[in-house]
Symmetry: D2
Subunit: 164 residues, 4 copies
């Protein structure tokens, strides 16, 4: 099962070639990840994302470190007011780390927050390896049973990259 | 009458002090301006903003230049998933230019797109002077009657800045 | 007397119009300010800037808040490998605050770090009001005699803005 | 042989954790790439980089597309006024594409622009696959003999990533 996260573009994501810049594409993924993985206290976020179980953030007891990233850019993305739809899933759930996989798709205003891929040709495919660390010691800490239970429904095959 | 434009924050808008960076605040204003003033062809933008009459964009016949900006930061803005609400109006409508005024407020998920200020204490007050230029010649061109008619309902007193 | 601070552009400072974006211009000013006002511990910064007396930074006893900014964009700035030259001076030295004034000029590889304006037509003129606050209490604190002595040589007439 | 490219940090490269953000690390690599691969017309860039043979840029006859990127973050990078030193080389030279490899190292004010690695423990290792396309048609075009001759001295073993 995948998460479907809407991410709003900014006009400044475009570079002088008038497409979303290759670096900014990682910014969109960061935004999707923060929506999906962090617990937010905003009263008016209507339904919590199913995976928002990780109590991180600058003042929390756990931090997440980005250890590795990989991306393939498949077609150029222009500016649109409609948020893109980032499909996210977990390709590997390790002891203290996980591999988050993404496909960046055309947005559509109404879509379910979770489900299988909607198909179509993505703008980009990417993966991020995240390590969960204890905020006090900075050392990796094991994912706990509550976290595993929240994330296991989102385990799917990891991405295979074409050009590697 | 004011436009009420929701603008989504990104976690990367925070700087090392964990507040929205002073420069990024101008990014939020740019985003509000592009939502409100540009004509977008996205089929799925449900209702066009009342002021989205300006056919600009890189391939259009008119461009807008930012000639001047001014801002007062009134209180720090932390990260929130709820978009902030940018109240926008036009403080002065000149021959080929206009002064756009803004107040950046706490967001709320449901609010009318136009109306009077909702009050409350803004995070920032700002203004931008925009000049409309002919894309072919680069020279300022006069606002046309259709543009004036669209914008006049949004004329209000310009901001007065406290610290000037 | 003015400080002459070189600030390197990044290609990503350009927006889809292929000029340095109006928001990024404030980023260049932030960079100049951090070079000039913060004390840096880098052993290999050959000569400390004369005004680098402020022991700020996230872990320091003082912070600086940006309270207000104003800018006039005078001509478009394209991408160049040569850093631009930001001329900086202090337009007003208050009890707990100061107004920093800037002109953004064409760079040149060799120039004195301090001196009068080199003349020429700037890309932009701007000012920033900075308030120095006690990091522990968050309250404004008075500039101390050592800070005043370091900054007084850089007091010049504040900028006058044409379009205000 | 490697290129050693100095890249200046900006304070805004830090995120709320007070380290250079994982996305901004790709920005530093973009900056190194533009310094090294693009031909610049700046009269005052003292010595052209040996590889600055590619006549790209928005108005040129060739464009470069970023097709793929991969990175491993090895240790956190804080803010420093000293530019970091990006060691770059070419890991693979294909018909119309190449793989650029990087290591991001501590900067030092004086270092040779080309040479072997200076050793030490990098902050990050990364690679970017670049495709050269004809600007008019958008199709990949073959690297020409002059380009190959300029780049061949910088061919080294491609990076091996630990965590793949």
């Amino acid at each position: 099962m995948r998460l479907h996260v809407p991410v709003a573009l900014r006009w400044s994501d475009l570079d002088a070639y008038q497409h979303v810049n290759n670096v900014e594409m990682f910014r969109l993924l960061e935004d999707a990840r923060i929506t999906a993985f962090w617990r937010h206290d905003d009263a008016d976020l209507e339904e919590p994302w199913p995976t928002a179980v990780l109590d991180t953030g600058p003042r929390a007891t756990s931090h997440t470190l980005v250890a590795r990233q990989e991306i393939e850019y498949l077609r150029p993305l222009g500016f649109t007011r409609t948020p893109v739809r980032v499909e996210m899933w977990i390709g590997r759930l390790g002891g203290a780390s996980m591999e988050v996989c993404y496909e960046v798709h055309d947005g559509a205003q109404h879509f379910d927050r979770t489900g299988p891929t909607t198909g179509g040709s993505p703008y980009a495919k990417a993966s991020t390896t995240i390590v969960v660390v204890d905020a006090a010691t900075g050392s990796p800490r094991r994912l706990d049973p509550r976290e595993r239970a929240a994330w296991e429904p989102f385990l799917e095959e990891p991405l295979t990259f074409r050009r590697r």
